[in-house]
């Protein structure tokens, strides 16, 4: 059977358990399927269409249904920066990939098992990613001469036998949607046609036995102001589901059993949402009001928008006139005793450099979030990259050390945000928190932590003099080397700080050569000393490996999946992932020197590799691709295996 064969290529479908009758009915709004059901371990689906076709919404809903069903999942939204590129054009294609499984998975999947293509351009852009035997669901109504021409097709690929490697389901999505909605009053035929993404979602929900109550409730809530649109989308969704059930083109449907995840309460979460929640948690844990200064920029704007909607947590969001003001206002808020945060992406971080330098010398807390995207300059705003590491470490004048924390998964952005805030307020220092476009928009199931289990973020403001009757604003804590945080409003501690070099302890302006040397070293020692309070680098080494794969940031999933494959092929390999890039965990050198060969996969030209070679004198090699997309597990596995075998 073609479809099952398709999944067996990468989905490891087990023929023996196929055709088990579908017994469990999870939904009430649609009739239960009567067709045979096959069991799959995992599936990768990609929805693709025009950027105006609602593909992100469709993908989001399918993901929510999948999450609630209990599969493990990872998503990869992939959309153009243009809001509405010309309809039907190749640059206007927007995609959403979701990988779900009955076991824990780490990546959004290298190759889709199923592609839903809403028009010829979506087919053309994505068909090259499909493995032989993949399932292709196409909206035949969109394959007009004009659309074929826009996509650069000379002949209709549905008719010229060019898709014989795939199992093609031609579906008249648009016309069936319009037909299904002809009795809905108050909508135009154009509006009816726009419901076709819900038809597609309904069909896919049937095909993979997704629970549908969530989507029906979502439609009702989202379109409550326009009940006729809600009705249209509901009808389209049900029509799509029923089409799967009745059409002879779909002979079988598939079930992917819930994953056996660790016990707990779960939700689906994206990196930007997790990061926002982490900042709110840090505000609660420290008792400091949260202030966010931001200027809209892809892919960081979601954090500003999320926090702006959570004012009941006392969050003040300030959409500044520019990136500089956004960081300046955050630093001003920190001076006043708030948790000052500024969020941006590379092109905006550049503009904040001077403020970060000021925060270094003022020794005030500031969290700077860099949601990295492909560059240089404007680059590819919606695409991920890891090439800002050296910038955040060194992109300031003079000796201005700044701690760097990097998130490695969407849900991990929550913990990374708390950690960045903890370091900032404990050591009175700016801290860079690195995320990227993949983490920001990608989502995964998250085992919701118990609030009581979150780490403490203790903060004490200076309350009185620290030198007899006098107050010395740069007298340091012996352990952390942090200076006192004396906020305006505290009687008797009036003091002045500034960007000029300060005399040790008094903070008075000083041009003394030896004092400057001492202050430069003190600031460096303070940041280096953070290593004492962070966890050691953990190594995943089942034993006997002479090769270590060292990663950081969002490559975590791909590296993990690749390492599994390499081990499955009876090779020994160890893996470690850095969450602190400055300072490194205190055992990093020891770990690196334990291995003969070190591979550092990065979505840049070798930035971490340069750092560890310089700092630890190890002969690390890189695997570097800068395509504006995450690594594929297969390519990494190949690179790792090659190094292990070398």
């Amino acid at each position: 059977m073609p479809a099952a064969a398709a999944f067996s290529l990468s989905g490891r479908a087990v023929p023996g358990v196929a055709r088990r009758p579908f017994l469990r009915v999870r939904y009430t709004s649609c009739i239960a399927t009567s067709k045979p059901v096959e069991q799959l371990e995992r599936v990768v689906i990609r929805f693709a269409g025009d950027s105006g076709d609602g593909m992100q919404l469709t993908g989001d809903r399918f993901t929510s249904e999948t999450a609630v069903f209990g599969n493990d999942l990872v998503t990869l939204p992939d959309f153009p920066a243009e809001i509405r590129a010309p309809a039907g054009s190749l640059p206007g294609v927007s995609g959403f990939q979701v990988h779900f499984a009955d076991h824990d998975i780490l990546t959004p999947g290298d190759q889709p098992n199923v592609l839903v293509a809403m028009n010829p351009a979506a087919l053309k852009v994505n068909v090259g990613d499909l493995p032989k035997g993949a399932t292709l669901i196409v909206n035949t109504d969109a394959f007009s001469d004009r659309n074929l021409q826009k996509a650069g097709y000379e002949a209709n690929p549905l008719e010229d036998n060019s898709l014989t490697d795939f199992h093609v389901h031609p579906v008249a999505l648009s016309s069936m949607t319009v037909e299904a909605l002809k009795e809905v009053e108050g909508i135009t035929s154009r509006e009816a046609e726009r419901s076709k993404n819900f038809f597609a979602l309904g069909l896919m929900s049937w095909l993979y036995h997704r629970p549908v109550e969530g989507t029906l409730g979502f439609i009702e809530a989202k379109f409550s102001q326009r009940p006729e649109i809600a009705e249209a989308n509901t009808k389209a969704f049900k029509a799509g589901w029923n089409y799967g059930e009745t059409s002879e083109d779909f002979a079988v449907s598939y079930e992917v059993a819930p994953a056996r995840l660790a016990p707990g309460t779960y939700r689906q979460i994206s990196g930007n949402t997790a990061l926002s929640y982490g900042l709110i948690a840090a505000s609660r844990l420290s008792g400091l009001p949260l202030f966010l200064g931001a200027y809209p920029i892809t892919p960081a704007s979601g954090i500003l928008e999320e926090l702006a909607s959570l004012k009941e947590f006392g969050v003040r969001t300030f959409q500044a006139e520019d990136e500089i003001a956004a960081s300046g206002a955050a630093l001003g808020a920190s001076f006043g005793g708030a948790l000052g945060v500024t969020t941006s992406a590379g092109p905006g971080i550049v503009l904040k450099s001077e403020t970060v330098g000021l925060a270094v010398t003022l020794e005030l807390p500031l969290v700077i979030v860099d949601v990295q995207r492909a560059g240089p300059s404007t680059g590819m705003p919606t695409k991920p990259e890891q090439a800002d590491l050296l910038m955040v470490l060194f992109g300031r004048n003079s000796e201005s050390p700044v701690p760097v924390v990097a998130a490695s998964t969407p849900a991990g952005c929550f913990d990374a945000a708390i950690e960045a805030a903890r370091i900032a307020v404990t050591y009175r220092t700016p801290v860079f928190l690195l995320s990227d476009a993949y983490l920001a928009n990608g989502s995964e199931p998250w085992r919701i932590p118990d609030v009581a289990s979150l780490p403490a973020v203790p903060v004490e403001f200076a309350q009185g003099p620290n030198d007899g009757e006098a107050f010395l604003p740069y007298r340091r804590d012996a352990e952390t080397l942090a200076r006192p945080w004396a906020i305006p409003g505290t009687p008797g501690l009036e003091h002045r700080i500034g960007g000029l070099e300060k005399q040790d302890e008094t903070g008075n302006v000083s041009y003394d050569p030896e004092n400057h040397d001492r202050m430069v070293r003190l600031r460096a020692a303070k940041v280096a000393g953070i290593a004492a309070g962070i966890p050691e680098l953990e190594v995943d080494d089942p034993g006997g490996a002479d090769t270590l794969v060292l990663g950081w940031g969002s490559t975590y999933g791909a590296i993990g999946a690749a390492v599994r494959r390499v081990r499955a092929a009876d090779r020994k390999v160890a893996a470690a992932h850095l969450h602190h890039l400055n300072p490194f965990p205190r055992n990093t050198g020891d770990v690196l020197r334990r291995y003969e060969k070190i591979l550092v996969p990065e979505l840049n030209l070798g930035q971490l590799r340069m750092l560890i070679r310089a700092e630890f004198l190890v002969d690390a090699v890189g695997y570097n691709r800068v395509r504006g997309r995450p690594f594929q597990a297969a390519e990494l596995a190949e690179a790792i295996a090659a190094l292990v075998d070398s």
């Binding site: 069903f69 819930p258 939700r267 009941e312 006139e321 500089i324 001003g332 708030a338 002045r496 302006v509």
Partner: protein, 342 residues
């Protein structure tokens, strides 16, 4: 302010002097301004610990070091942005920005206009000496056209900004002007600015005796050329108040001899007029156009203050949703339970 024992202590100017040696050039107009502001502070009744002076870069930006209050000497042009973050998170503070013509109008122009438009509760004092002093004598955005300086040996090519016109155009709710040596006039404008809720912008004409000496002699020395604005009164000035200001049909203002037009024809100053046109017309009366310069409060209107509006939104959100509950937030949206083996 109140001491620990409950006694109210009357502070004096001396209480606002920090222990730092003042390091402006001898003869700089900044000394006079510092003295006046240290003299005004006790009149405001605000405890020292609740006063914060934030500055950028430049000669004027050294100001916070000399005030026995909280202070920050920050980055070139960015003081309004930094002060905004402080003011909106700490409405209990009185936040002041001290800036110069280069700091405020060149590198920091964007932050200045946006702070004014938002009406953040900031007092912005712009020391205008029409020159770059700290970098030793290049022309500034308020230097006159054709100014010969080290960086413009053949004369500057760019037309100068009029700071008050910019502030009024940027929707400032309080706009005033004073001159460094005029203790009384300066103190009055600064005190009025301090008492204004919202952003207050004050241009202080300040002599740089090293790089642009005598730039304002026409009003510094020649007091007859000062037009003191008095709210609600016809605008008259000069010896025996023989001169005045009228507003023409096209809205522009100009200096006249009162004897020529009659007292009834004089423009009556209305700082709180709903529309900024009058204040703007007065800002266009300069020594170059009319041989005289207006001083005092040009504009003072009530407008919603950014800090208050933000605080109201926070309160409204808590009213609507209750105090934020972190546990509930983390569990928002669709959740599902994976049961334990037990």
């Amino acid at each position: 302010m109140t001491e620990g024992n409950g006694n109210v202590v009357q502070l004096t100017a001396k209480d606002f002097k920090s222990d730092q040696e003042v390091r402006w050039c001898p003869g700089c107009g900044d000394y006079a301004i510092l003295n006046v502001i240290q003299g005004v502070m006790p009149e405001l009744g605000i405890p020292r610990e609740r006063l914060v002076f934030v500055s950028g870069i430049g000669c004027a930006a050294r100001f916070p070091y000399y005030m026995q209050t909280y202070g920050m000497h920050s980055i070139h042009g960015r003081a309004p942005a930094i002060a905004t973050g402080l003011a909106v998170t700490r409405p209990d503070l009185s936040v002041w920005v001290v800036t110069g013509d280069g700091d405020a109008l060149s590198i920091g122009g964007n932050h200045l206009i946006h702070a004014l438009r938002r009406n953040v509760n900031l007092k912005i004092l712009l020391f205008n000496n029409r020159i770059y002093g700290l970098t030793k004598g290049q022309y500034s955005p308020t230097s006159e056209l054709g100014k010969v300086t080290k960086s413009t040996p053949m004369g500057s090519l760019d037309y100068p900004f009029n700071p008050l016109s910019i502030a009024i155009g940027a929707e400032a709710s309080f706009v005033g002007r004073a001159i460094d040596t005029d203790k009384k006039g300066l103190a009055e404008v600064v005190e009025a600015a301090a008492r204004h809720r919202g952003s207050a912008f004050v241009e202080i004409l300040q002599n740089c005796n090293i790089y642009n000496d005598g730039a304002f002699d026409y009003v510094r020395d020649d007091k007859a050329n000062r037009i003191y604005l008095e709210d609600g009164a016809p605008i008259r000035f000069g010896e025996d108040a023989a001169k005045g200001v009228v507003q023409d049909a096209d809205g522009s203002a100009r200096v006249v001899d009162v004897a020529d037009v009659g007292e009834d024809a004089l423009l009556v100053h209305a700082a709180s007029h709903r529309e900024p046109s009058l204040a703007f017309a007065l800002s266009r009366v300069t020594f170059d156009t009319d041989g005289a310069v207006p001083f005092g409060v040009f504009r003072r209107v009530e407008r919603p203050v950014y800090d208050d509006l933000l605080a109201e939104q926070l309160a409204a959100a808590k009213e609507r949703s209750g105090e934020g509950d972190l546990e509930a937030l983390l569990h928002s949206g669709d959740t599902w339970v994976v049961p334990g083996d037990g």
